[in-house]
């Protein structure tokens, strides 16, 4: 077998990033965060760690899980070099960054989160849509705790609700993933959702992934095939006020908000396109779940090239202003903010992310369908000079189509809310480690 070098395959010869972290002025005791490949990290707790290996066993007993977080002040460097003061969640095993670490827990586990406040203003922790997940307030250098039962499986957002949306906007937010106690369909396909919330459509789709004679090449979805994309925006004027210790009026922020930076998992543009926590990669036929969360104040219209994506689940919301679409309605009358698994799995190339929306989208990793049949996209080594059909991977972009957020610092297109994803031909399976 030909030895393939991954570096060549990816064709990325950009700069190697220097050390990510340095420390700023010691008097402020703030971490200085230079993003680059300081990727968003996921921490697995309790029964959830098992599932990554086993793919969803129904037998594990509920565990008691303790999660320690702290709220910190940091200086973070934006893509154009601008330094912005932020508030950030961290865990003892991660650096402080925005968003905070992804917390993976298992449905039914007893979760205790203790928040230590290492800033000069009070903070608390809340998870909208999760019963009982609202802590007391921690004064500076104090702690607060909250215990709750991990809810039905899905994607959740933890945040500081104080002076909403101010503390969340300054950076105090992160994602909690709840894995199902049993996510398998009746036919046995693994899904990210609790059996009780399965719609016929979800079961049909996930069953279909494992059937090689149908629309898809036959790889079932695997729980390791998922990414988190947290969308956020930064208006540095408010961050500067917070740094100076000035109080920020929530309604003033709502009224005057004018974002200058637009990020996915805290990074944007060139950095997001090279961040392993963001860039989806895989072979044709390996479906990839993307958990989208909008922690910010702006609406977004994420658009993906190369494949349409399935909208699997969203945030249950009651109709307001008469806005409703049948496909947005949950199966049952779910409480506001809970996970609504879709009855109608719409295949989109643009999806809507309202503020605080959580939406699970799935890239089916189909062969990009509009490549001419005659151009049988496959892989060959060495590559012919004049052809693209022997190239791997094909690389596509995902970006906000509310294009204003493709900017950074008032220009610099496309250094905003944009990233890449990659797809390898199926015949390279087993030959390339990706």
């Amino acid at each position: 077998m030909v030895q393939l070098r991954l570096g060549w395959l990816r064709a990325v010869t950009g700069p190697v990033f220097e050390t990510r972290y340095s420390y700023g002025e010691p008097m402020k005791r703030r971490e200085f965060l230079k993003y680059g490949s300081a990727s968003l990290l996921t921490l697995a707790f309790g029964g959830s760690a098992l599932r990554l290996v086993e793919g969803g066993s129904g037998s594990a007993k509920a565990a008691a899980v303790t999660i320690n977080l702290s709220a910190e002040e940091i200086m973070a460097e934006m893509i154009d070099g601008e330094e912005v003061f932020m508030l950030a969640f961290r865990s003892p095993s991660t650096s402080a960054r925005v968003p905070g670490p992804v917390l993976r827990v298992r449905e039914g586990d007893q979760i205790t989160i203790t928040l230590f406040n290492n800033t000069e203003t009070p903070h608390k922790l809340e998870i909208p849509g999760v019963a009982g997940a609202s802590s007391g307030t921690a004064a500076p250098q104090q702690s607060t705790s909250v215990t709750f039962t991990a809810p039905v499986a899905g994607t959740y957002l933890y945040l500081d609700p104080i002076n909403a949306p101010v503390n969340r906007m300054l950076g105090l937010h992160g994602v909690m993933i709840v894995e199902p106690a049993d996510g398998r369909t009746i036919a046995g396909a693994v899904t990210p959702y609790s059996r009780a919330t399965h719609t016929p459509a979800i079961a049909t789709l996930f069953d279909a992934f494992g059937v090689p004679t149908g629309r898809f090449p036959g790889d079932p979805w695997h729980p390791s095939r998922e990414l988190v994309w947290v969308f956020h925006q930064f208006d540095p004027r408010f961050h500067a006020m917070a740094e100076r210790g000035e109080s920020i009026n929530a309604s003033t922020m709502q009224r005057d908000f004018l974002a200058r930076y637009f990020t996915i998992n805290g990074v944007s543009g060139f950095e997001a396109a090279h961040d392993p926590s963001i860039v989806a990669t895989g072979f044709v036929g390996q479906p990839m779940l993307i958990r989208n969360v909008n922690a910010g104040l702006n609406w977004h219209s994420p658009h993906i090239h190369g494949n349409h994506v399935f909208e699997l689940a969203g945030t249950a919301r009651s109709a307001s202003e008469g806005i409703s679409s049948p496909q947005e309605l949950p199966l049952t009358s779910s409480p506001e903010g809970s996970v609504a698994v879709r009855k109608n799995l719409i295949h989109r190339d643009v999806w809507t992310m309202a503020p605080l929306d959580r939406k699970d989208m799935l890239i089916p990793y189909e062969r990009p369908p509009d490549i001419p049949d005659e151009v049988r996209w496959h892989f060959a080594y060495p590559p012919a000079q004049e052809t693209e059909q022997t190239r791997a991977p094909l690389r596509y972009v995902m970006h906000d189509h509310t294009e204003v957020s493709l900017t950074a610092g008032g220009g610099n297109y496309p250094q905003g809310m944009m990233c890449h994803w990659e797809i390898f031909p199926r015949e390279l399976m087993g030959q390339v480690l990706i």
């Binding site: 010869t13 154009d80 509009d370 294009e403 900017t407 297109y413």
Partner: protein, 366 residues
Amino acid sequence: MATIDFSQTGVTGPLTFDSFGCKTFEQAQPDTPDRIAPTQSFRRRVHFDATRKMWDGKTVAFWSFEDPTTKVKASFPAPTLRMRQGELVHSTVETRKGTHTIHHHGIEPTTVNDGVGHVSFEVNGSYTYQMQPTVAGTFLYHCHKNTVLHFEMGMYGFLIVDPPPAPLPAGVPAGSKQCFVGGPWYQAEAAWVFDDVDARWHNLDFDAGLCGDDVGLNRFEPKYFLVNGQPYNTKTKTGAVRSKVKRGQKILLRLLNGAYSQLLLSMPNGPAMEVVSIDGRPLGTGGAGLPGGLSSPWSQPFALSGGQKIVLSSAGRYDVLVSVPATASVGTVYKLGAEFRHFTSFEARNRGTPYEGVVHTEIEVT
């Protein structure tokens, strides 16, 4: 024409901070890799010549594409690319000044045919994009260079994929068209693209902001609102685009948000309406038996009621089949409302002023 050296493109060339926007890969007359003889060809030439006089007397310039094989100049929006599913399509961009691309939005070919400069190349000359659309539906095409600006400037148009010809089922009137393979039939059609315009942006240079300048492209304050390039008078609520349909017939609305505002649509009262397709993908089992088997048994078409409001995000498409009752009177006008909602406050733009971002379109029963 020149064979592409992939190392001089985003395919295998070095991706750096600068290669993303400021110094993007550029090609003049590159050959299309893996070129095959087309069964359908289009040419689209960049122009900077369109203007629109707004209701308050102000004139705004637009850039777009025109079809050099016709005598129509300065088209805005760009002329529709209309093709059939399964055709081998060549779509050629011809630039005039500066670099541009065409991204056929929702069509999914290889990377170099996708029109995104920093992962392939921008074009300073001409390039023929090659694709073979698999699914019938509503798409768009637009320039993907400094997209935040070039899309706002008007460099967009519809791209419609029709299904292969099929025999008319019993009871379907002659001349009807089918939405997609196995899908419903319609007798009239309206393709409506909604746009919002910030006149300040329309005086900027092609490359504004690309190399680090703060040109305020994070600040978008539209005062003008257009449907199909036609300015709507937000003061008098006139200037609506109108489409016609006979009573007892079906009109397919192809709705596209070409704005940066979130579009809040209010569906008309009177006719029965069904969403049959979203983003160029049929809902339900239409398309079964296609190459690639793009059937979607996990989705289904759904009805909309009169007055119902739906959100259409930037570049999103809804295909709504409107059935006009046989009992409707000739001359009846159904109105579809569209509010341009601010992407932060979700309020209608300029609410309470003559520049309020609230427009409507009309379907007239004939």
